[in-house]
Symmetry: C2
Subunit: 253 residues, 2 copies
Amino acid sequence: MLKLILIGTGNVASHLFNTFLNSKEVSIEQVFGRNQEKLKKFSKYVPVTSLSSEIKEADIYIIAVSDDVIISVAQLLGNKQGIIAHTSGSVSIKALNHKKAAVFYPLQTFTKNKKIDFSSIPICLEASNKEDLIVLNKLAKNLSNSIFEVSSSQRKKLHLAAVFANNFTNHLFQISKDLCDSEKLPFDILKPLIYETAKKLEDLNPSEAQTGPAKRNDVETMQQHLEQLKDPIHKKLYQLISESIIDSNEKKL
Amino acid sequence: MLKLILIGTGNVASHLFNTFLNSKEVSIEQVFGRNQEKLKKFSKYVPVTSLSSEIKEADIYIIAVSDDVIISVAQLLGNKQGIIAHTSGSVSIKALNHKKAAVFYPLQTFTKNKKIDFSSIPICLEASNKEDLIVLNKLAKNLSNSIFEVSSSQRKKLHLAAVFANNFTNHLFQISKDLCDSEKLPFDILKPLIYETAKKLEDLNPSEAQTGPAKRNDVETMQQHLEQLKDPIHKKLYQLISESIIDSNEKKL
C-alpha cells in the first residue's frame, strides 16, 4: 500500500484525490492546505491539516499547488523522507531542492466540477533516482494506462506545446464563436467541425490534415476574410497565422 | 424520388456521391466532370459525361467544384429548369446567376479516402424561393439530422469562423507537434489534451473554458515560453495570441 499525502486543495488536487480515494493500492493519509474552507470537503474522507508542523510521514507527497508557490511549499517538506513530487508542466525538478525530488505531471486540462477519466491521460514522470521512478510508476498505474518518462527540459517544451494545442486553440474557438454571435448563428453549428479537426489526428498528422485558403495560397479569399474582421487584433491574427501556414508550406517544398 | 446530377469529381462530390448512392429518396442521374480519369470511379454506378451538352434534366444540380470555377460551371447550366446549388462556404448565391440558384453547404472538413458520416454534419441551405427550400430540405434530410437555413452574408461569416475553428487550429497542432519533435517526444502524448479541448465545448463555452498563462496574465511563464521558441513567426504568434487572450479578458471585465 502506497502512503500518499496530498498538498493542495485546488482543481488538480481534487481530481487526484477523487481518483486515488477509490484505489486499492494507494492510501491517502492526509490532505494539507492553507485554505480551511477548501479543506472541508476532503475532511469527510481523510485527515486534513493546515499546519505544516502536523504533516505526517508518507511514501509520496504530491504537491498540487500553483506554480508560483511550489518552492515555498516544498520548503515545508524539507525534512521528510518520502518522495516529493510536484504536478506542474513548467517547473523544474530542481525547484523542489530535495534528494527525493520528483515530478508527477498529468498532461490534461482540468475543469472544476467536471469528472475526469484519468485512464487515458498521459502521466509524465521524472525522478531523482531509479527506485523512486519505480514507485512513481506504481502510483501512476493506479490512474492511467499512458505513462511517460519525461525530463525537465522535455517537459518545459511539452508544456509550451500544450499551450498551443489547448489554450491557444480554445482562444481560436472563442473568436469563431464571436463571429457566429455577430450573425446570430448558433455556435453549435461549428462543433462537429471542431470535433472532426481533433479526430482527424488519429489518421493524419497535422501537416497532412492542413486545408484552407492559406494552405492553397488563395489570396482572394484571404482578402475577403480580412475585410470581414472588425477587431484589429483578430485581423492581425488572421494575417499572421496565414503567413505561418504559408511559411510551413514553403519549408516542406 | 429526387433526380440529382452531381457536377464535380473531387473530395466533396465523392463524399456526397457515396452517401446519396444508398439513399432511397434520391436518384443520382449523372455525374459531370472535366477530368475523364476521375469520372471513371463514378461510371461504375451511374452515367457520366465530360461534355456539357450531354448534361441531362434533373430536379437538382449540385455543383461541388473549386470556388474559382463555380461561375463558369454555373454558366453551363444556364438553360436548365432544376435547382442549381453550389456547395461552397464563401461564394454568394448570386454568383450562380440563375432563377433557381441555391446553396447546399455541408460544414465539415473532408479528407480524401476517409469515409464521412454525414448524419451529424450541419447542412447550410439557401434558396431563391420557398418551394426550392422545401426540396433542398428534403434532399438534406437524406444526409443529415442537422439542417440550417443560412443566408449568403451569414454563410460568409460562418466560413471565416470555420477557418479559425479548423484551419488555424490545425496549424497550432502542427506547431505543437514540431515542438514535441524537437524534444523527441511522441505527438501522441498531446492527443488526449486535444480531444478534451474540443469535448469541453459540450459543457462550457470557450470563454469559460479558457485557461493558461495568458488568461492568468502570468508574465514570467509567457517570457519563458517565448525564450524557448526558435522560429520567429511562432514567437510572434505566441505574443499575438496571448495579447488577444488578455484583450478578451479585459473586455469581459
